[in-house]
């Protein structure tokens, strides 16, 4: 697992020195080694974190046996040995990188369909100055790029692309991206905060030769893979259990010490239980907790680890640790990113890295198995009665004094049925609704806020809850959760693997009948029924708690200075994106006890923090 960066430039605009300096910005992603290739047109840079074949044989950029191709690769392909066997590739190294390159040469770019893993890689054909860019199906590993018809620049993180471009031009802020950020808390693929830098789309590869346009191929699209062939619950459980074991088994391939993040919730406990079941060695588990019990599941994690017999490591966070990192988010995530659970994720990564180089995490379970409250809202809002009377219901609820009703009221306040999914998401996350954006945005321009989901490709009739889950899979999971985990763990050179997002599990779970997932109001039913085969059910009889920080409390105490520094009239007017009066009103209401506004206040703070450092 690593960091990659590079370019191909017909007018030879970039130098080897620039290649080295852009790659060096990714040193945290791979501290073990670095490697560069430069031939005048093309530069490929690589920072290596050794996880498989720790010897120098795994050094990148790696060249094919025929010498005509070079590759830089970030990620892991777990089934590389089988691919090698299937294609009769005789390996000289113990790395997946070598298999990727030789398989590509044998089968062409469609070979990517054979891979099971998380990856972003670039292959360069030396004698034709031609490159191919690949990204994994779900979008676990990142790749950002710039292309103007003559110069193509790419990197694992935005900062590296930006640093190279800034030397020749001024980057323009993408206004639509800011709207998305305020509404969703992140910027969705393919956009980035800069107008001419994009996120390379997941499930795609692209080909680029000479100065033609990038030729994209969508090699995997979940929406065409959802199968409605119905297995009985018992059959489905057997199949899912097998897929989970197979997925975890693949992801335990490693030449370095490993562990799992164990939050105490269903997903991480299941991943841990299976890993403990497969591994011959005792596994390490990592938990962090807060002194504030309402935000901490550490005590449950400890009980689960005891029941599974793992080597458990627990760290209780101080507010000081967390607060310091709040400002670091700007540098780590490169673009405005409002998900403050990045902080515990960074802290647990740092903590785990003291013991291991690789961890497994439970990400994906909520989207795949109906774990979020948003899915209940999706169902409720499609109820004909509630839908017809949403205006008066919303009005009534907001007149009640309690914060929870005010938040519920917001869920009823939307105008456009087509936008109901992003509306529900924004209100579940306490972010600005489209209506609120009209007030808070200086230019009032919100008509770019559309988030398409290709439901028509799905060969099954979908319930509102399922649509909401697919919306989350396409946007929230990829551009928030997976970005959060990748950047937070790679900041400390820790590789994180996400077994629940094996594409086989993704395809299968979205085809399951909804009542296998939501049963009598209980979420993740089928997943829990597997989990309870390994861990006593009593340990999970409690309400779900998110992996969140006590931000309301902090903003009203220690972090009060952030409100002063980043929401004052002067700074709001300086960047001229938000309406200063609306911001002042928001802050006033929050401080007067409208706690449900905390994340909106954070959006404003973080945006201006980002602008102060970048604009």
């Amino acid at each position: 697992m690593c960091g990659i960066a590079g370019f191909i430039s017909i007018p030879k605009n970039y130098t080897e020195k620039q290649l080295v300096s852009m790659t060096d910005l990714l040193t945290h992603r791979g501290t073990d080694a670095s490697g560069y290739f430069f031939d005048g047109f093309c530069g490929l840079g690589h920072r290596r974190l050794s996880v498989l074949d720790l010897s120098d044989a795994g050094k990148q950029p790696m060249f094919s046996a025929c010498g005509k191709y070079a590759i830089v690769f970030n990620g892991e392909v777990y089934n590389y040995k089988e691919v090698a066997q299937e294609l009769n590739i005789v390996q000289k190294t113990g790395t997946d990188t070598e298999v990727l390159l030789e398989a590509f040469i044998l089968k062409g770019p469609d070979f990517v369909n054979l891979l099971n893993g998380m990856f972003a890689f670039v292959i360069y054909k030396l004698d034709e100055s031609k490159i191919w860019i690949f990204r994994d199906r779900v979008g676990i590993k990142p790749i950002y790029y710039f292309y103007d018809g003559l110069n193509f620049v790419f990197a694992s993180e935005l900062k590296a692309v930006k640093s190279l471009l800034e030397q020749n031009q001024t980057l323009k802020i993408n206004k639509h991206a800011i709207n998305s950020y305020l509404h969703l808390g992140y910027i969705e693929e393919p956009n980035s905060i800069y107008e001419n830098i994009s996120k390379f789309p997941s499930g795609h590869y692209a080909e680029l030769s000479n100065n033609q346009s990038l030729k994209f191929t969508n090699y995997w699209n979940l929406f065409t893979k959802i199968n409605d062939e119905i297995d009985s619950f018992e059959e489905a459980k057997d199949k899912l259990k097998y897929l989970l074991f197979s997925s975890v088994n693949y992801r335990l391939i490693s030449d370095v010490p490993f562990g799992t993040f164990l939050s105490g919730g269903v997903d991480s406990s299941l991943v841990t239980a299976i890993a403990a079941n497969i591994s011959e060695k005792k596994i390490n588990t990592f938990t962090i907790g807060f002194h504030d019990k309402s935000h901490s599941e550490a005590e449950y994690a400890a009980k689960i680890s005891k029941s599974l017999g793992t080597d458990h490591h627990e760290m209780i966070l101080s507010e000081k640790d967390s607060i310091q990192l709040l400002e670091d988010i700007v540098g780590v995530y490169d673009e405005p990113f409002a998900d403050t659970s990045a902080i515990p994720t960074m802290l647990i990564s740092k903590f785990a890295r003291q013991h291991v180089t690789m961890t497994l995490a439970g990400d994906g379970g909520d989207e795949l198995f109906m774990g979020y409250g948003a899915y209940q809202w999706a169902k409720r809002l499609q109820n004909p009665f509630l839908n017809a009377f949403k205006q008066p219901i919303g009005g009534f609820l907001s007149s009640l004094p309690q914060n929870k009703y005010k938040r519920a009221a917001m869920l009823f306040k939307y105008d456009n049925e087509a936008n109901v999914m992003d509306h529900i998401f924004s209100q579940e996350q306490y972010l600005f609704s489209e209506n609120e954006l009209h007030t808070i945005l200086k230019n009032k321009d919100t008509n770019l806020l559309t988030y398409g989901v290709p439901f028509s490709l799905v060969d099954k009739s979908l319930k509102p809850e399922e649509k909401q889950a697919l919306f989350d899979f396409k946007y929230y999971l990829k551009d928030d959760l997976l970005v959060k985990v990748d950047r937070a763990s790679m900041k400390y050179s820790l590789e994180t693997r996400v077994p629940l997002l094996d594409y086989r599990i993704v395809e299968y779970s979205f085809g399951l009948p909804i009542d296998y997932k939501l049963k009598n109001g209980e979420s993740k039913h089928i997943l829990k029924s597997i989990l309870y085969d390994y861990v006593p059910q009593e340990l999970f009889n409690r309400p779900k708690r998110g992996f969140s920080i006590p931000l309301v409390k902090w903003l009203k105490n220690d972090l009060g200075y952030l409100i002063e520094d980043y929401t004052n009239t002067q700074i709001i007017n300086k960047y001229d994106i938000l309406d200063s009066d609306a911001v002042q009103l928001l802050v006033k209401q929050f401080l007067a006890g409208h706690d449900y506004l905390y994340n909106r206040v954070w959006l404003v703070i973080h945006l201006h923090m980002w602008l102060s450092k970048n604009a």
Binding site: Q85, L114, D238
Partner: protein, 296 residues
């Protein structure tokens, strides 16, 4: 614990150049991709070799042996197998694309049992009818008492037991060598099953040209039973059902003779079967025998 298994698909073949490509393709199209294919050419005189070698996939191995018996070809394939499980496929039948995946799920579920069976259907390609073999129960020894519903399709045998357990290669046994082998395997290891239909045994017109010699059938039965019962576990498990096994074997012969219009001997074996176990009269087979003898 073994999660992802390497399967060895053993395909014995003899002069099936026109059919074997479709058979092999059905394996190459499996959604579960960890497998090897071992084709044992039992001395074909047609262009089978050419057809197999023309398929460009490194997972296929082709071995030609001197024409002997299917049992020899299958044993040879099992011996060459590198997988943890061996599964068999005749060169005119096909797997559906979920065959190996469903097997992997069940083998995992039952913690890698030595002997396992997956559902299949017998399909008549001419008239489009099919009969599903999908009602087997785990460790149900009655499966083999009345006949051989397993045929030689959907069978999975753990490689580790194939040093001691093999097909009996006696030529006289040909046609019942699979049943005899399953008796030994079930008696020693039980059998786990998954009834999802994942393969098709295809019946073509040339299978219906039947002619059976009653004496050979009789010898075949005697040999199969006596061989199987040399195994102590078979004696222990199946001993008390000896009459039934013998009886159903007789009615099996009766049916084959009826199909080749040998009425006299067909009746003789039917009676002999009923004498050994009168209840065998009330089986679907008796009905089939009468249908062959009277209606056709």
């Amino acid at each position: 614990m073994k999660v992802d298994i390497l399967f060895s698909v053993v395909i014995p073949t003899y002069n099936r150049a026109d059919k074997i490509k479709r058979t092999i393709d059905s394996v190459l199209q499996q959604s579960y991709r960890i497998f090897e294919i071992i084709v044992i050419d039992d001395g074909s005189t047609d262009n089978t070799e050419e057809v197999v070698l023309a398929i460009n996939d490194k997972r296929i191995q082709y071995h030609k042996i001197v024409n002997s018996e299917r049992a020899v070809a299958r044993n040879t394939g099992m011996q060459l197998a590198k997988g943890q499980y061996i599964t068999l496929l005749d060169s005119d039948d096909i797997y559906y694309s979920n065959y190996l995946f469903e097997a992997a799920i069940s083998l995992f579920k039952y913690n890698n049992p030595p002997f396992f069976h997956l559902g299949y259907e017998v399909k008549d390609e001419l008239n489009g009818t099919s009969k599903k073999i999908n009602r087997l129960k785990n460790d149900d020894f009655f499966i083999l008492i009345k006949g051989n519903p397993l045929s030689c399709m959907g069978i999975f045998i753990a490689k580790k037991i194939t040093d001691t357990f093999k097909f009996n290669e006696n030529r006289m046994l040909s046609g019942s060598e699979d049943w005899e082998f399953w008796l030994r395997l079930t008696a020693n290891f039980g059998i786990k099953t998954n009834n999802k239909v994942c393969a098709a045994l295809l019946q073509h017109d040339d299978r219906s040209v039947l002619s059976y010699d009653h004496f050979k059938l009789y010898k075949r039965k005697e040999l199969a039973i006596s061989n199987a019962f040399k195994d102590d576990k078979v004696k222990e498990v199946y001993g008390k059902y000896m009459n039934q096994i013998d009886s159903y074997a007789d009615t099996y012969i009766a049916l084959h003779l009826a199909m080749s219009k040998n009425k006299k001997y067909a009746f003789k074996y039917l009676l002999s079967g009923m004498r050994k176990y009168p209840l065998s009269f009330f089986s679907r087979r008796t009905l089939s025998i009468f249908r062959e003898l009277i209606i056709r």
